[in-house]
């Protein structure tokens, strides 16, 4: 295998690793653009991954698994909304509680229902999202360069991967070209203005957290039905927070979110690839260093040393009608 082949392989695994980040990142984008901070992406993903793994194990259908994932994730999102929008609770505390609750419940119910120490049973192939071979991929793989890129990089992913990449232009369109998107952005910057225009801030924000739950459902289902063959305890392993970092990195914009998630996916893929392999000039790069890079980059960006990440103005503040 030539160097080109290795590069293709790394890029391929970068795509696979970026997909759950992308779903979760776009999920956070809807919520945070509407003024609801969400550090509970991790918990929603985990809950969704468990629901998907458990349901697919019982029904042996990946699609029903996906539906269950979305249902659980949206339910958790509504819980967040109930605390933050209806009861004007603290959004950080609510997100944190959802993370802890999801970690505990998935492990507890998993252990009780399946007796495998918190895992769900290994899924049969039909209960998973399997790789699709796009048309002409076999034929293209014989061609040089572009053909191999098509065959090895573009083709051969499961349906959720393509959906994730489709979600980017879709989100862009919803956010910048629809009335709902305009109002969503407005309610995150100046809810009082939206209220004055006679639009319900509460209902708008609820719709935003539902969108967030929906996308987190996809992210979780991807983890347990596509990337692995079943649910494993704490399988999100901080991905929800990396997605949050990517969201800040992208300055709360959808197309840039794709770039940020792919970058973090690439870092992850390289960390796996470079384990114990010396890099010219630098020598062996510790895995931990590569793992910490997304977080360090985000802190640097937040500090405003390179560009400036300004969150939606009304983020984190509960809206009180006729408030001071």
């Amino acid at each position: 295998m030539g160097e080109f082949g290795i590069i293709l392989q790394v890029l391929d695994s970068a795509i696979r690793l970026a997909v759950p980040l992308l779903f979760a990142c776009l999920a956070g984008l809807y919520s945070e653009r509407s003024g609801i901070f969400d550090i509970g992406l991790e918990g929603k993903m985990l809950g969704a991954a468990f629901a998907a793994g458990a349901t697919a194990a019982v029904t042996e259908s990946a699609w029903i698994g996906l539906l269950a994932a979305i249902a659980v994730s949206v339910a958790l999102a509504l819980l967040h909304g109930f605390a933050c929008i209806t009861h004007r609770g603290n959004q950080i505390v609510s997100g944190l509680a959802i993370n802890i609750l999801a970690a505990g419940l998935t492990a507890l119910l998993g252990a009780t229902w399946f007796h495998q120490g918190g895992q769900t049973p290994q899924l049969v192939d039909t209960a998973r999202f399997r790789e699709l071979v796009l048309p002409f991929a076999d034929w293209a793989s014989a061609l040089p360069a572009v053909g191999r890129v098509y065959a090895e990089l573009v083709s051969g992913h499961n349906v959720l991967v393509y959906l994730a990449f489709l979600a980017v232009p879709l989100t862009w369109w919803v956010l910048y070209r629809t009335r709902f998107g305009l109002r969503l952005r407005a309610v995150g910057e100046n809810p009082a203005a939206v209220d004055t225009a006679g639009i319900s801030v509460t209902w708008l924000r609820y719709r935003a957290v539902i969108c967030c739950g929906l996308l987190c459902g996809f992210a979780g289902a991807y983890l347990s039905l596509a990337q692995s063959a079943g649910f494993i305890r704490d399988m999100t392993a901080g991905k929800g927070f990396i997605a949050l970092a990517a969201l800040i990195f992208a300055k709360w914009r959808p197309v840039q979110a794709l770039g940020a998630c792919f970058l973090f996916g690439l870092l992850d893929a390289m960390a796996i690839r470079l384990q114990g392999v010396p890099v010219p000039v630098i020598g062996i790069v510790p895995v931990q260093f590569m793992q910490a890079v997304p977080y360090v980059l985000t802190v640097i960006l937040l500090a405003g040393f390179v560009g400036r990440a300004v969150p939606p103005k009304a983020g984190g503040v509960p809206y009180v009608k006729e408030g001071r």
């Binding site: 609770g89 603290n90 609510s94 419940l105 507890l108 927070f241 802190v299 937040l302």
Partner: protein, 377 residues
């Protein structure tokens, strides 16, 4: 806040709201137990017996309580200054590095000198890790919640690297430091009292507990009886008023985070010097996050924090006992209860407030509004 008609009502609400929230969380936890197919009342019985029923259990309960006092105080001090420090986890992790370095390289010191050195090291390292997010919040406006989350993850990476590549003794494959010398350990309470002729069951409860209680008094003095504490509370309530009074919110933000980080480091003292006797991976295991619930339930007051910490300590130890007695209910049940308490006591704290206020103020002549300054976050 109106102090005229409503001091009594205010106190009643301050006390009753957390109780109501706790009850709500426990009721939902009971439903979870029912779903699993066990009897909630039996579970409660086992929990209470496991936590308080016998000497060793009480020892463990107080051992966990120590962790939660430190993490609760850490969160509370920052909270008073209007800061949301959810980085106690990372700060305690780094504090562990300080404690381990002190215990490994200063073990020639006699214990009465080594203990203050280890306390100082834990506080120093914890404070150092809290300094950067604090400074960035003060001078660059970076959101403290996000930076402290990021710093938790960075701390995890740093510590794995150090434990695997630097701290592990030569030839060892275990990602942990060398074990501390016998003379470089925090004395166990049962050993100390045993020396005085009082027999106690063995448990990891150690002298860090006393330091935790001392920290409660120190924090109480600091927040309510010093000019600095007054300034911190002023900044927390209204940064504009603080500026008007000639205080520097930037300086106070950094100071609050330093104190908060130093207190978080105390957790490492209890776990590393008091119980593990070596630096290990992930010894903080979420205690830092529980501190948020502890502080919120305890209304950021040391007395409340002690009570809430005891509650969570009992939950931890009782949960371990429960998992032992009822294999169907794993220790994750405790995490579920924790999550529910954080949700009800933290995020939904206003759930019962309006009803309670209406009930208690019905007879009062003037309506009382109880509003607490909440940091934006």
């Amino acid at each position: 806040m109106s102090a005229r008609a409503g001091t009594l009502t205010h106190w009643a609400i301050t006390l009753l709201v957390p109780v109501f929230n706790l009850v709500a969380a426990l009721v939902v936890s009971g439903l979870v137990v029912l779903v699993i197919g066990e009897n909630p009342l039996e579970v409660v019985q086992l929990l209470v017996w496991g936590a308080f029923g016998y000497g060793e259990g009480v020892g463990y309960t107080l051992f966990y309580t120590t962790n939660f006092i430190f993490s609760g105080l850490a969160f509370a001090v920052a909270y008073h200054a209007g800061l949301f420090n959810i980085g106690a986890e990372g700060q305690a992790y780094l504090g562990g590095l300080g404690v381990a370095l002190a215990c490994l390289y200063l073990d020639f010191l006699p214990l009465p000198l080594l203990i203050p050195a280890a306390i100082a090291a834990s506080a120093l390292f914890g404070a150092a890790w809290a300094f950067v997010p604090g400074w960035l919040q003060a001078h660059r406006g970076s959101h403290i919640v996000i930076t402290t989350i990021m710093f938790n993850f960075i701390a995890a990476s740093v510590m794995v690297y150090l434990l695997v590549n630097v701290m592990a003794p030569p030839g060892s494959m275990q990602p942990e430091s060398a074990t501390f010398a016998e003379t470089a350990r925090m004395p166990f309470i049962h050993e100390m009292l045993g020396g005085l002729g009082i027999e106690l069951s063995r448990s990891p409860l150690n002298m860090s507990f006393l330091w935790a209680l001392a920290c409660c008094v120190l924090v109480w003095l600091l927040i309510w009886h010093t000019p600095l504490g007054y300034a911190l509370r002023t900044v927390g309530t209204s940064p504009q008023a603080a500026v008007y009074a000639g205080m520097s919110p930037k300086r106070l933000t950094v100071i609050a985070m330093l104190i908060s980080g130093a207190l978080a480091g105390g957790m490492a003292l209890n776990e590393i010097m008091g119980s593990q006797h070596r630096l290990i991976l992930e010894f903080t295991s979420g205690y830092g996050f529980v501190g948020i619930a502890v502080a919120l339930m305890g209304r950021s007051h040391p007395v409340g924090i002690c009570l809430a910490a005891l509650l969570f300590g009992a939950l931890y130890q009782g949960g371990a006992e429960l998992a032992f007695e009822k294999p169907k209910i794993t220790r994750d049940m405790v995490i579920v209860i924790q999550g529910l308490i954080i949700f009800f006591a933290g995020a939904m704290e206003h759930l019962f407030r309006p009803q309670l206020e209406a009930l208690l103020t019905r007879k009062a002549a003037s309506p009382v509004t109880v509003e607490e300054g909440q940091p934006s976050g």
